[in-house]
């Protein structure tokens, strides 16, 4: 059971980052690449300094830097966001494979320890599942809540959402579209890097090429599943995390379902949710930020 929350929280960190970028109107399909680079950066610095916190910070910086490329290409220069994002994934996977050559099959490094919560941990059933998490898990929960707070309850969030809904309107109201979007994309990259760090330090406990194994794409799907809301995305993260954790175990349980079918499920569910949204969208505006994917250029006649 512990693995469900472990996988779920890793997905959640990356999805939360994508959510922030998308709320500002920038689709970043480079999550898989940013996670891979974050993962290798965390593993390298974790080994080097023997401290998971430093690993986490370096992973965040690496993810943020890679995201900055997307920000420059897709936001500042206004290139196609889909193309730039896909390029970022390929670049990130390639870079991480290259940089990680020497770390393959190295022994595990210090991981994020559990946050001591005293007697809570010994509660029946709930204890080991909910209160026996690493402190990074609690950071993820905190990040989710603060993301919600910033988006919904602060001037910064209001401006960010406005940029993602209608860049021209936000611009007219004095909100800088380019600065907001680049900042959101970089913040998203930092969180994807965190997700990668969690993956190599706590979950896979090592680095191999392709260790991300499509989890970045699941994070992108999660944002849609969560209807661009931090809370609902958290629910989705646990659900998808459960499916991913289940996959390798099925056979041991003797269940005759192909694990490939299970790994398809998150995407199938996402397609279902998308369909439901588009039906709903006939009666009300779509849950997706209206300006997503669209570059903004201020125009004079």
């Amino acid at each position: 059971m512990n693995e469900v929350t472990l996988v779920g929280l890793m997905l959640y960190l990356a999805a939360l980052g994508e959510l922030i970028a998308e709320k500002a109107g920038v689709l970043n399909l480079g999550v898989e690449g940013m996670m891979a680079v974050g993962g290798v950066a965390a593993f390298w610095s974790g080994t080097e300094f023997g401290n998971p916190l430093i690993g986490l910070l370096i992973a965040g910086i690496a993810g943020g830097l890679l995201a900055l490329v997307h920000g420059l290409v897709a936001v500042v220069m206004g290139a196609d966001q889909v193309v730039s994002g896909l390029a970022l994934t390929i670049l990130g996977l390639g870079m991480s494979a290259f940089l990680g050559q020497d770390y393959v099959s190295l022994p595990a490094v210090p991981q994020f320890g559990a946050l001591p919560l005293g007697p809570l941990k010994d509660l029946r059933i709930v204890g080991p599942i909910v209160f026996n998490q690493s402190w990074l898990a609690w950071v993820a929960v905190g990040l989710g809540i603060s993301t919600w707070f910033v988006l919904e309850r602060t001037r910064v969030g209001l401006g960010l959402r406005a940029v993602g809904e209608s860049a021209a309107t936000a611009d007219a109201a004095g909100q800088s579209v380019v600065v907001t979007r680049v900042a959101a994309v970089v913040a998203g990259g930092v969180l994807a890097g965190f997700g990668g760090a969690y993956l190599t330090l706590n979950l896979a406990k090592g680095w191999t090429e392709g260790v991300t194994a499509g989890r970045g794409w699941i994070a992108v799907a999660l944002v849609i599943f969560g209807a661009w809301r931090p809370g609902r995305t958290a629910v989705g993260a646990l659900l998808f995390g459960g499916l991913l954790a289940l996959e390798p175990r099925l056979q041991t349980f003797g269940v005759e379902i192909s694990p490939i079918l299970i790994s398809m499920l998150p995407y199938v569910i996402t397609i279902g949710v998308l369909t439901a949204f588009s039906i709903q969208a006939r009666h009300r505006p779509s849950a997706a930020p209206a300006a997503i994917g669209r570059a903004y250029r201020r125009e004079e006649r």
Binding site: R155, E165, T169, A170, G174, P285, R301
Partner: protein, 508 residues
Amino acid sequence: MSSPPAVELTNIWKRFPGVIANAGAELRVQPGTVHAVLGENGAGKTTLMNVLAGVYRPDEGTVLLDGVEHVFGSPADALDAGVAMVHQEFRLIPTFTVAENVALGSAPPVLRRREIEEQVADLAKRFGLQTDPRREVWHLSMGERQRVEILKALWRDATILILDEPTAVLTPAEANELGRIVAAMAADGRSIIFISHKLDEVTRFCDEATVLRGGATVAASLPVSSLDAPTLAELMVGESTLVSQRRVRNNPADPDQPVLSVRHMTVHDIHGIATVDDVSLEIGSGEIVGIAGVAGNGQRPLADAIAGLATPTQGSVRLEGDELGGAGPNVRTDAGLSYVPEDRIGVGLAPRLSVTENAMMRTYRTMGAGPMVDFGDARRHCEQLIDEFNVKTGGLDAPIAGLSGGNLQRLLVGRELATSPKALVAAQPTRGLDVQGVAAIQEVLVAQAEAGLGILLISEDLEELLALSDRILVMREGRIVAEFDAETATRAMVGEAMAGSASKREPA
């Protein structure tokens, strides 16, 4: 004069490539008054207001507010100086609440929703604006959205408020409501600039009026009491040099042989508002029926629905008696209905495709065998079109994006006529074209009508409608509110019906 005017624009010039939008325009607005700016489409009203609101920088001229000169680099600068503009297209975020839209750009670092909502409600109450700060904007009617725009300006404490044709999207009741709000704001010491071309509103809501023509001011700060319809028409249009020359047709229209008939058509937009409301019309063989109306009164959804690009909620379209029902554009083309849409580029033509590819869009299905397209055939077809309609191109394979507006439209009209249709819907076919372009398109339309084509001509250009049509129908708020025989109708008569003072459907 004790205090300087709130706004003083002097000798404003603004040129765009190929167009002089403002040629020495002047405007003087006294504090605490409602000032009308009048003029025809293209008279330079909106450009002048955009100069005042910081959207455009004037090429020449000065902007004085309360006697102090200002140079605005952006709309934000103008807003800081107290000038706010409510554009015709609202700048609101549909998924935000009213309060969020109002606070955007000047919100405190941490939003206390309840508090902001209360403040917005208080502000709204002070000026008699009815609104619910907690509602999301997409629920609201156009009138309510406009009130949110006004609230935005008041929230920023704008002392000069520009309303660009504010009543164009409003129902009469909402327009009256707006009149009260404007009066309340003026009583509060603010200056309101009210752009309009409806005389009755100007006399009811405004104190003074400035009239623009051809980018220059032809009458400054007239008291509205001195205005009447003939004076105003003369000021706006100029000497009667523009009186329409009716294009005489040899072959008279035959209204008894209807080619296109629309019965009780109603179209709803995505918000469930009826943009076309129970419209019926009939076009005879060789007849040109004009649709007049202020922009946004349902002309476009009507044209789209007839052409099969929008689905009416009710009503039927018949072509020579055959019901077209829910048929798509392809079937309609085959049946003999053609469409020259308002958006030439985008709906009518694909800008990046070549001249040949654009020319074959209606006929490609008959070129070549099976799935193959015979491009030789397509080029011959295209050459014929270019020749017949005198289109100047940079080669058959060049993207059409490089063509001038007149050539684009000749290509589009030519393509739509090449299928030998029985009826044609032409929406704003000459808008934005130069004099020769306009003449060329008008000649084609008249020649086609002579040959028996029934044409529905939708235009904002009254001269064009009076010159070309047999009958003119006036659309307002989605309905046909008046019908005129184009031979005896005058600008004033049609204009009055467009503006809303006449609502009788007189026999043609």
